[in-house]
Assembly symmetry: C2
């Protein structure tokens, strides 16, 4: 099969660090264009906007959206109306409703839509899911803590309304637990801490449950010091499962498990290629719904101003 | 057919003003019990809790939940597990996820679940929906303004996290427009104004759109003075439709339309009885999803403290 001709929209940190390297190593795709307001991507045809790209690179079959979630709805819509398959970085849109409208449009257009929860492709996640199947779960504890200065240097959109704040990394944890746990989760309590000078929370706690009454607690912190703590712990009658390093490592009763390490984005694009081939979509919204519910019912507190 | 034996859970303002009077006049139902922590309902068997009611009034077939949305999930779940049909006052739960879990459980149990968007039963709503069908819509303007002191005297839950604040009335407007407009709506911008001493907004603005790019703007205010302004205006190529008085009156190009006025709650219970008879549920979550998205992507501002 000849490679899928793909364009990338937005060439910021995540496109440079993850999407483009993954695409360059994937024979299923040919990276033929990048549309960005900023610096061009070396060695790839440059467009100043998605609109230009769609007009001029008419043989492009798929687009990967790496722009901020605010404003993404209109762009993805334009791509879907042009009949392109789309991969949309997380979170897919600034609102659940926008994302649901895209899901409907993709179905009408008969193209593939992938909401890219990349952390679900971390090395330990599928093994964790398999190990948990059929176990008697007692409780789940999530700690997802990092330094925003290290991971989002100078990025303003993440602090603006619709930018999610600490849930921008936190939604990665939510995408993992909503994939590995057996039942749909829902938020029962939330607290959100907003810096006085920002529109998005710098820290948050969520209590969640499911139809079986499982207790899930999650602590998110964006002001954690240099070393990340990205960890999910599941206590079962049968033992304790721990995903660390954002899901890249898996321990069962403190014993590290041997894992195949392909990388999140290479696996994500492999998934995208298979969806396109099969004519399917993958548009789970549970992680964003958990965040929306956190905002809906969360207690808000104002904390010290955040200075970059 | 013999009447459906029904119990009311929670006997606060909305139960006293609306549910019980509607039930007393509806031959489809027999009001046999009220469970409440507060004053008993005159002439009806009293229980101090839902749990007591379920244990002792075992022949009850249906329950209407008039308690605050926070904590309602656990109660409705208990009723569903006991095999009862449920009518749940708006908003159905404190979170979308809780409400979705109830929908699933009701389906598993094979009972009727009705999320009671009572404003959809206002006298002008169905006529408005019929008139709008097939029209070329230009824009929609919602103004939903009232005095919280008049409508929620001394109620604390509405100001607490999960209590929705000004969206407690505002969700009535959202339930109407999401019913009468042809396409699913989504929030594109929001601003929320929180009193410094409260966890819920006292005022908010939403910008919404749909798959056709319709512009919908809504202004919600809970500090509006004595006379309510509950109005929805839809501009079409073919003329201007206006729902006023919360949907009770309908004007087309300023001409008042003649309407049958049964009352919202009598129609709501008629709908509930028909759903039970047909073995169906009605669990639309679009109004709550619009509010959740408003909280998710809204700009927050702090305004003057609110004193009851």
């Amino acid at each position: 099969m000849s490679p899928i001709r793909l364009g990338v929209v937005g060439y910021g940190k995540i496109a440079q660090d993850q999407h483009v390297p993954a695409l360059r190593n994937d024979p299923s795709f040919e990276l033929v264009a990048v549309a960005t307001l900023g610096e061009p991507c070396p060695g790839v045809t440059h467009f100043g906007s998605l609109h230009e790209l769609l007009e001029q690179a008419v043989d492009i079959q798929a687009l990967a959206f790496c722009t901020p979630p605010q404003g993404r709805y209109a762009q993805v819509r334009e791509a879907l109306l042009a009949g392109k398959h789309v991969l949309v970085e997380k979170p897919p849109c600034a609102s659940l409703g926008e994302a649901m409208a895209l899901v409907e449009l993709a179905a009408e257009q008969g193209v593939t839509c992938l909401f890219a929860w990349h952390s679900r492709f971390a090395a330990g996640v599928e093994s964790a899911r398999a190990w948990l199947a059929g176990k008697r779960l007692q409780s789940v504890t999530v700690q997802w803590k990092e330094d925003v200065r290290k991971w989002h240097p100078g990025q303003q959109w993440i602090w603006q309304a619709g930018g999610l704040g600490v849930f921008d990394p936190g939604i990665n944890a939510l995408s993992i637990i909503s994939h590995v746990l057996p039942e749909a989760l829902f938020v029962t309590q939330a607290s959100l801490r907003f810096p006085g000078n920002r529109q998005a929370p710098i820290a948050a706690d969520l209590s969640m449950s499911d139809a079986n009454g499982l207790q899930v607690s999650a602590a998110f912190d964006w002001d954690h010091g240099h070393d990340e703590l990205w960890q999910i712990e599941v206590h079962c009658d049968e033992g304790c499962l721990r995903l660390t390093h954002g899901g890249a490592q898996l321990l069962i009763d403190d014993v590290p498990q041997t894992l195949e390490t392909v990388g999140e984005y290479p696996l994500l694009y492999r998934h995208f290629a298979r969806l396109i081939e099969a004519g399917n979509s993958d548009t789970d919204l549970q992680p964003l719904r958990l965040v929306a519910d956190g905002f809906l019912l969360g207690e808000r507190a104002t904390v010290a101003d955040f200075v970059d």
